[in-house]
């Protein structure tokens, strides 16, 4: 197979995508951080994005819920195009869960209040119902006993699981993970990955920026490799890791595996 001609990245096989990004560009000042991104994400699809730091992978997923603004091209999430329309942006954000590298829990609120905030204020769910949902998800991420504590009293791994539960409480259609384990101590990475694997098994649509290649192998449908603001290569995990086609991919894999 020719090494650098991959134009499709597996997008054509996707019918009824929940996220569709076409010919999208983004600049930070003069710096062209994302160049001609084309990506379709199917419902229940799980995509892992990897690549060297500065390659634009975090920026890409941050564009999906408009934490970053793209300057050219189109991003459509669940049938709504991302424009400057703030109401649409808020609607999309409610449907797209985001988990950050540094958790970003609200330190002045208890764990359970962190979880109920979104449902109560955005979804207008009654407090009691929101609290029940919150406890349900806290049990799911195996941390229900910490509900009354504050984020500062929890370990990094626990905080990240709370952050995942916080997103789940909004019943999102898609979950974005921005390097969810890279700020964690090694012994805490597994507890977070386990929660993410559970989530994958239940059929959540997930886009995960991570360097955890074991996770990519076991749950991803597609692995994307990004470099210099472009999607260089995309494939199913088996082919991606065993037969990388592009030289840059090979180099990257040789460095991290």
């Amino acid at each position: 197979m020719n090494s650098d001609v991959q134009t499709d990245f597996g997008n054509e096989a996707i019918e009824d995508p929940i996220i569709e990004i076409s010919a999208m560009h983004k600049w930070f000042g003069e710096f062209h951080v994302l160049q001609d991104i084309n990506l379709k994400v199917g419902r229940q699809e799980r995509i892992v994005i990897c690549g060297p730091s500065g390659s634009g992978k975090s920026t890409l997923i941050r564009c999906i819920n408009r934490l970053e603004e793209h300057q050219r091209g189109q991003i459509v999430v669940d049938g709504i195009e991302l424009t400057n329309n703030i109401k649409n942006i808020e609607k999309i954000r409610a449907e797209v869960g985001m988990v950050f590298q540094h958790f970003n829990l609200f330190p002045h609120l208890t764990i359970v209040d962190n979880l109920t905030l979104g449902p109560i204020w955005v979804r207008k769910v009654p407090r009691k119902e929101a609290e029940e949902t919150a406890m349900h998800y806290l049990e799911k991420v195996r941390i229900a006993e910490q509900a009354k504590k504050y984020p500062g009293q929890l370990s990094g791994g626990q905080q990240q699981r709370v952050a995942i539960a916080r997103s789940l409480c909004m019943a999102p259609k898609v979950m974005l993970f921005d390097e969810p384990t890279s700020a964690l101590d090694p012994e805490m990475i597994k507890e977070v990955l386990d929660v993410m694997i559970d989530l994958a098994r239940e059929g959540m649509t997930m886009i995960v920026v991570t360097h955890e290649m074991g996770f990519a192998k076991s749950v991803a449908h597609r692995v994307l490799f990004m470099d210099y603001g472009q999607i260089v290569e995309a494939n199913n995990p088996e082919d991606f890791f065993n037969n990388p086609r592009h030289d840059r991919t090979k180099l990257f894999l040789s460095q991290i595996l």
């Binding site: 954000r93 609200f106 504050y150």
Partner: protein, 365 residues
């Protein structure tokens, strides 16, 4: 492995060296650790020796507590504290009609009671707002008259009620205004942003005294003939506008101290701007800036005494007026020490309240 190796035998119990504990040790490490510390200690002890006993002598031993001004003058020895009890009603209430002075007194008691009640977090409910509304109406009626009480012109208000009125309302109105200004200064809309910047810089660049002058002398010139705005209200507005500019800058500091991630986390949940600010950003930012805001509130409280220059009889001015009375001329030290104590009690209450709030809001991050 033998038991001796696993069970750690305590080393023979050693006492710390005598020179490092007890009174001697403390003295040595804190007061006489080096030759210049020893020198400083001795100098301070000498200063205390020459200043404290004479002060105690003047303030307590040879002082008068009930004598009239004349007797004090004749004795010419210690402090004449009797200036306070003899003039307390005027110092506290100024020119408020003598027979009616129980009304401002009651209003002050009510205000202090409400302040103390509001201090406890368990009382922070919606009902607190209603208590304050009712309290304010009652205080207003007490001060102004009505409902069978004889009306009293606000030009006769003075002393402690006036000081508390100017500061409590000044501070409670300035704080929200300051927050709005701080948010406005960070706004993405250039018009709002520059308006707030101009306001803040303009007000901060001008002394409070000149604002008070303007409110009392310049502002009435612009009013149509026959329209007057109450002098106290004008001073009050000047104090609010002035304090708000300072509060705004402190709050802005707190907003800038917030991690970008907090905004992002709130936004990614779908919260809108007002929800993000109200629920996530301001509670944290305002907590960070409790110490500097309290500094500003304390200095604003003391600055209310500047209203003397527009001839409002606040606590300081009524005291000065007493000193103008021939009988009590020359006892300014006693009078000012008393006023300083009143101010100190109020400021100390403010700062201890803020420390308490800080402790209670601490969630360990």
């Amino acid at each position: 492995m033998s038991a001796e190796q696993t069970d750690r035998q305590p080393v023979e119990e050693l006492k710390p060296p005598a020179a490092s504990v007890g009174v001697l040790g403390w003295l040595r490490s804190n007061l006489f650790s080096t030759w210049y510390n020893s020198l400083l200690t001795l100098a301070v002890v000498y200063l205390l020796w020459v200043s404290v006993p004479p002060f105690v002598q003047w303030a307590f031993v040879e002082s008068f507590w009930t004598a009239s001004g004349k007797e004090c003058l004749e004795a010419d020895s210690g402090a004449c504290w009797s200036i306070i009890p003899n003039n307390i009603r005027f110092i506290m209430f100024g020119f408020y009609p003598y027979q009616e002075q129980w009304r401002p007194g009651l209003a002050v008691v009510l205000l202090v009671g409400l302040l103390i009640f509001s201090q406890f977090r368990r009382n922070w409910k919606k009902s607190l707002l209603y208590y304050w509304l009712v309290g304010l109406v009652v205080m207003g009626i007490l001060m102004k008259g009505g409902l069978g009480l004889a009306p009293v012109e606000s030009t006769k208000w003075g002393g402690l009620p006036l000081t508390l009125l100017l500061s409590v309302f000044g501070l409670t109105a300035a704080y929200p205004l300051g927050i709005v200004l701080a948010l406005g200064r960070q706004s993405r809309l250039p018009a709002i942003r520059s308006l707030c910047v101009v306001y803040i810089e303009l007000i901060r660049g001008v002394p409070l005294i000149s604002l008070l002058f303007m409110s009392s002398v310049v502002f009435p010139l612009f009013l149509p003939e026959g329209v007057t705005v109450n002098k106290i209200l004008r001073a009050q507005v000047a104090i609010i506008l002035f304090t708000a500019a300072y509060i705004a800058e402190v709050v802005r500091g707190g907003l800038q101290g917030m991690a970008r991630g907090q905004y992002e986390a709130a936004e990614s949940l779908g919260l809108n701007y007002y929800q993000t600010m109200r629920l996530i950003i301001l509670p944290q930012a305002l907590k960070i800036v409790i110490p500097p805001s309290v500094s500003i509130l304390i200095s604003a409280f003391k600055d209310t005494s500047l209203v003397v220059i527009i001839a409002l009889y606040d606590l300081l001015k009524t005291t000065q007026a007493v000193l103008g009375n021939p009988e009590w001329m020359g006892f300014s030290a006693e009078a000012y020490i008393f006023i300083a104590l009143v101010y100190f009690v109020c400021c100390y209450y403010l700062s201890s309240f803020s420390r308490k709030i800080e402790r209670e809001l601490d969630t360990g991050y």
